[in-house]
């Protein structure tokens, strides 16, 4: 009887699964509170063209489509026949794109996303944040409240404070404040006290602890390593990727200690297994990570991920933040473009890709602001414990 799961292949026994996959182009369209005249699809198409141009390629090079609107893009980009994957969300869609190349099906794959014109009924929270599940709908839950239930429990268990949450929010919002491409560029700077003074949304989250809602598109282009010599820009490489899931988002109580298979722990540390697999795939340790392009739907999620991934011990995330570790020049600068709190949060998909896009810019060394000097390894994430999933992608400068 098999008593343990098979080890993930490492560089020592087989070739790296993504050895032949390069991230060749990335692009963000203009991000704004609203983009009149655009639909989610139209802004995603603008992003696809932008990412291809960034790589030095055109639609004529594309033989694979992944991510949101992959099917529609087959027609709108005038492509066909092309390969297509239907996963729309974030890092799993980028893994799809990488697999299309690694498995020999494609040479140039575009993964695009966009959100525009979908949040119009402003007296309610955004439509994608309102669960319809019969066991939660009537209690007025929405994304902020779901994530607040996790944060509150962490505060009960470990004494994490609202001040520590506010320090995270101020750090990320200040990254966006100095970023000319951020929707909230120039809206700061913020102190933790500014965050605490903003109105309460879902205790312990004040308005400035929460992501905002905006519009915009973005895209990535992945190519076979044989095409790298043709590129305009140096490639970034996928060193590892994996996802953790505990269940469907926003349908059951998203409790801190839900589930838990043995060594990997409960939902409160969702992403731990995914980070371990991702780092092991690349032959890396957590100490090798230079920058954390973490998904930041709410301030507490950063503290939680720091603990889940092992940048600090369980319950020590608040103190880790207090010690200045996530800010400029710190041990692990996080969410350096301003994230979903300040850079952009265009619906369901685009802001997930944007964590990886920023990671690529860090690896290239081309960030206009908050560039981490000599960044070689970026750990990028999507999701969060309030949504019962966390996806991880580690990218780097050297081909695996």
């Amino acid at each position: 009887m098999r008593t343990s799961r098979p080890a993930t292949p490492t560089l020592s026994d087989v070739s790296h699964p993504y050895r032949n996959v390069a991230i060749a182009g990335v692009f963000n369209t203009v991000q704004a509170r609203s983009l009149p005249g655009h639909s989610s699809l139209s802004i995603a198409i603008e992003a696809a063209h932008g990412a291809l141009a960034d790589a030095g390629l055109t639609v004529h090079d594309v033989d694979g489509l992944a991510g949101q609107f992959a099917s529609e893009m087959g027609m709108m980009l005038g492509r066909g026949p092309v390969s297509r994957k239907l996963t729309s969300l974030g890092i799993p869609a980028i893994i799809d794109a990488a697999a299309m190349i690694a498995l020999g099906e494609c040479e140039v794959v575009v993964a695009a996303a966009g959100g525009a014109g979908i949040y119009t009924e402003r007296s309610s929270t955004a439509p994608w944040t309102r669960p319809t599940n019969e066991f939660v709908a009537s209690y007025g839950l929405f994304t902020a409240a779901e994530f607040a239930l996790i944060a509150r429990r962490h505060m009960v268990m470990y004494g994490t404070t609202e001040q520590q949450l506010a320090t995270v929010a101020a750090t990320i919002r200040n990254n966006g404040h100095v970023n000319p491409g951020a929707v909230f560029s120039g809206k700061g700077p913020f102190t933790a006290d500014d965050v605490l003074a903003s109105r309460m949304v879902a205790d312990p989250f004040h308005l400035l602890d929460c992501s905002m809602v905006s519009e915009g598109g973005c895209a990535l282009v992945l190519v076979h390593a044989d095409r790298v010599k043709d590129l305009r820009t140096p490639p970034a490489w996928i060193l590892g990727a994996a996802g953790d899931l505990y269940g469907p988002a926003y349908q059951v109580a998203p409790s801190f200690d839900l589930g838990g298979r043995g060594e990997f722990g409960p939902n409160g540390v969702v992403g731990r297994r995914a980070a371990q697999i991702s780092l092991r795939m690349g032959g890396l340790r957590v100490d090798d990570v230079d920058v954390g392009e973490f998904y930041d739907p709410f301030s507490f999620e950063i503290i939680r991920q720091l603990e889940a991934f092992g940048f600090c011990g369980e319950g020590e995330g608040g103190a880790f933040v207090d010690d200045g570790n996530i800010g400029p020049g710190g041990r692990l600068p996080v969410t350096t473009d301003g994230g979903t709190m300040s850079f952009s949060h265009a619906g369901i998909n685009a802001q997930q890709f944007q964590r990886v896009i920023r990671g690529v810019e860090q690896i290239r060394g081309t960030c206009q602001t908050m560039q981490v000097p000599d960044a070689h390894v970026a750990l990028c994430t999507n999701g969060g414990a309030g949504a019962l999933f966390t996806d991880v992608m580690v990218i780097g400068k050297e081909r695996p």
Binding site: S138, P204, Q251
Partner: protein, 144 residues
């Protein structure tokens, strides 16, 4: 100033908030709520409790799952005080919470019958039912 704040004591939401739409596996749950009783689905083979009702046990996959009555008592595991309503029908502040049930499962419900200052982790709670849309009696919890 809402009714909630005037009294200082958390109240059930108005019956106009969206009601659940029962599914084929959850209809018995809502039927029991209409009788003023809380029930949960438990596996006869391994005793695990399904957080979402279904045709099989989520732990051991046995089809021998059956509804059991709950005493309706629990303690407060986590909560949030919401000030920005999900939809305009909701009156703020309201308090969605996770309740640790005495029978060993967790559920989401609203907290009523106390002030915001009364909210404490592990406080004992008791179920109570109030009407929402779709002719549903919705479980809430108040301090026991």
């Amino acid at each position: 100033m809402t009714e909630q704040l005037d009294s200082g004591v958390l109240q059930p939401q108005p019956a106009t908030v969206p009601g659940p739409t029962p599914g084929i596996f959850s209809q018995p749950y809502w039927d029991a709520c209409a009788r003023g009783q809380l029930i949960y689905q438990q596996c006869a083979a391994c005793s695990a409790i399904n957080l979402l009702p279904g045709q099989r046990c989520a732990r051991c996959a046995s089809e021998d799952v059956a509804w059991q009555p709950s005493a309706g008592r629990g303690t407060l595991y986590s909560w949030t005080v919401v000030w920005r309503p999900q939809r305009p029908e909701f009156q703020v502040p309201y308090v969605p919470a996770i309740i640790d049930m005495a029978e060993g499962y967790r559920m989401i419900a609203g907290i009523i019958g106390c002030t915001l200052d009364d909210l404490r982790a592990e406080m004992p709670l008791q179920v109570e039912f109030h009407a929402v849309a779709n002719d549903i009696q919705l479980p809430y919890f108040r301090p026991a």
